[in-house]
């Protein structure tokens, strides 16, 4: 297995376990590269990548940009707020205009689910999904699983609970696919209103009691409440949510074993996670960010190796 089975990364759902393991193996090497005095390799010096962000992002966008630059690719950036999208241009037109300037790969974040897949079927470039609405965020799931593998040695057989706004979370869906493909058990935990109906069809456990969920797991991935996507009230107040589902140092210390705490960011301190937990030695939040660059380098490198000359 030296090649990915896919030509685009639109979602974890399309990947095989071998693909994910190949990405991890390549990311191991890139992690070593980004810890060198000179953090750059010349592999992609004849590739141009466009980062199209139709939705706000800081971490993902910076992480992708750094990954691309450390592979020596040429990078162009685009954000919807300062573009012709506001003037009524369609997605396909925008992207085809950019591709006319000889761009080989597109990294896109878009508020509509399925946007990356839609694009990958219609344009002549490799597409990397950097988050499409409430659907998938594949590189986040890859870096989460990579961080678990780094911390615990492997993902196989581990128990992971995803806590919070599962309904609006693309991180949750990608994580479920990714962790299950790697042989982990997944549980989701949150208020009934924020757990999608029929989610058990994906083979995940559902728990509404945070303490029970934490007692069960090896790793807890705490998600943010995505107020910007919530058109109606899903719970009475943030304070009430935080009392029931916020991870505090007291709960963490009262557990029978030491679990690992993850968060994809941005953190709302005091809502889903308290400051002392986010900064504790059980939290690997900043390792996740570091691994994000290495994992994204691996994804881009492997996809670029399939671009013909």
């Amino acid at each position: 297995m030296n090649n990915l089975s896919v030509n685009h990364l639109t979602g974890i759902r399309d990947l095989t376990r071998e693909d994910i393991e190949l990405i991890f193996k390549t990311a191991d090497s890139f992690k070593e590269v980004i810890n060198r005095p000179i953090k750059k390799v010349p592999s992609l010096r004849d590739i141009t990548i466009a980062n199209l962000f139709f939705e706000n992002s800081t971490r993902t966008r910076l992480s992708f940009e750094l990954a691309e630059k450390r592979l020596s690719a040429d990078v162009v950036n685009f954000s919807a707020s300062s573009s012709s999208v506001k003037k009524g241009e369609t997605l396909i037109d925008t992207v085809n205009n950019i591709l006319s300037m000889k761009v080989d790969m597109v990294v896109m974040r878009h508020p509509n689910p399925g946007a990356a897949k839609f694009l990958s079927e219609r344009v002549n470039a490799r597409v990397v999904n950097a988050g499409d609405g409430t659907h998938e965020h594949p590189t986040q799931a890859l870096l989460d699983a990579f961080s678990i593998r780094e911390k615990l040695g492997s993902v196989e057989g581990k128990k992971v609970v995803i806590v919070g706004d599962i309904l609006h979370s693309r991180v949750a869906l990608s994580n479920i696919y990714c962790l299950q493909k790697l042989g982990a058990e997944v549980m989701v935990c949150g208020p009934t209103t924020l757990i999608p109906k029929y989610i058990h069809e994906l083979g995940v456990l559902v728990e509404h009691n945070l303490r029970k969920a934490l007692e069960w797991c090896d790793v807890a991935n705490m998600l943010r409440i995505q107020l910007e996507r919530q058109d109606i009230k899903f719970f009475p107040s943030l304070r009430e949510y935080s009392m029931q589902f916020g991870l505090t140092k007291e709960i963490l210390d009262s557990l029978s074993k030491k679990i690992i705490v993850m968060h994809p960011g941005p953190i709302n301190r005091g809502v889903e996670i308290t400051s002392d937990v986010a900064d504790s030695d059980q939290s690997i939040i900043l390792d996740q960010v570091e691994n994000g660059v290495a994992v994204r380098m691996a994804v881009i490198y492997l996809l670029a190796s399939k671009i013909g000359r």
Partner: protein
């Protein structure tokens, strides 16, 4: 010219001829385990001639197969000198000049160079020197770890006359004259069960 070298071939290659393993490949051992050991020892003494006590010298093995040569050289040098020799492994995958020109991506190996090579004398170690392209990439990769005072190259087998780039080794275990279509393989006690260098020649009679 080529025919001339081919005629000289029997003098360069040791006489052991083994039975055919592959239908269309002829296999010749060009360095057996006894000579293998002697060669490693000679290379070490040649290194000591140039680098004395290795206080300012580091050895870097090129992944994936060069590190086996490095392990032997390191062990022998440490036995002779009675001190530890600074060594590292370098992976050159991301520096190759054939990215996107191959069918399949190459899976990188591990790089571990946990020292600075600034102002050090570096000896790159590889098993077979063929086109020189790996060494070109290695020189490029090396720069990420600082500016060395001097870089030398040690190779167990030198396939001279097959070079694509103006690169020569400073220390050579064995020179062989080969055709591009032939293949030279270094086998190790630890992996293949025996130390030897084998030359595979496609059978022209078929």
């Amino acid at each position: 010219m080529l025919i001339f070298y081919l005629e000289k071939l029997p003098q360069v290659i040791l006489p052991t001829r083994k039975a055919r393993i592959f239908v269309s490949m002829e296999k010749q051992v060009i360095l057996n385990s006894r000579h293998f050991e002697l060669t490693i020892k000679r290379l070490c003494y040649q290194l000591i001639e140039q680098h004395h006590d290795f206080s300012d010298t580091v050895l870097i093995g090129l992944q994936p197969r060069g590190i086996h040569v490095l392990v032997r050289i390191k062990a022998e040098l440490e036995r002779i000198l009675g001190k530890e020799i600074l060594c590292g492994n370098l992976d050159i995958t991301f520096y190759r000049d054939d990215f996107r020109r191959r069918e399949k991506a190459i899976i990188p190996s591990v790089t571990n160079i946990d020292f600075v090579i600034e102002n050090k004398q570096v000896v790159l170690v590889d098993d077979v020197l063929f086109t020189g392209r790996t060494i070109r990439a290695g020189l490029d990769a090396l720069l990420a770890f600082g500016r060395p005072k001097k870089v030398e190259l040690l190779t167990l087998v030198d396939r001279r006359f097959n070079r694509d780039l103006p690169i020569q080794a400073n220390y050579i275990g064995k020179s062989v004259d080969t055709l591009s279509k032939e293949r030279v393989s270094v086998e190790w006690k630890e992996i293949e069960g025996e130390d030897k260098v084998v030359l595979f020649t496609p059978d022209t009679n078929e």
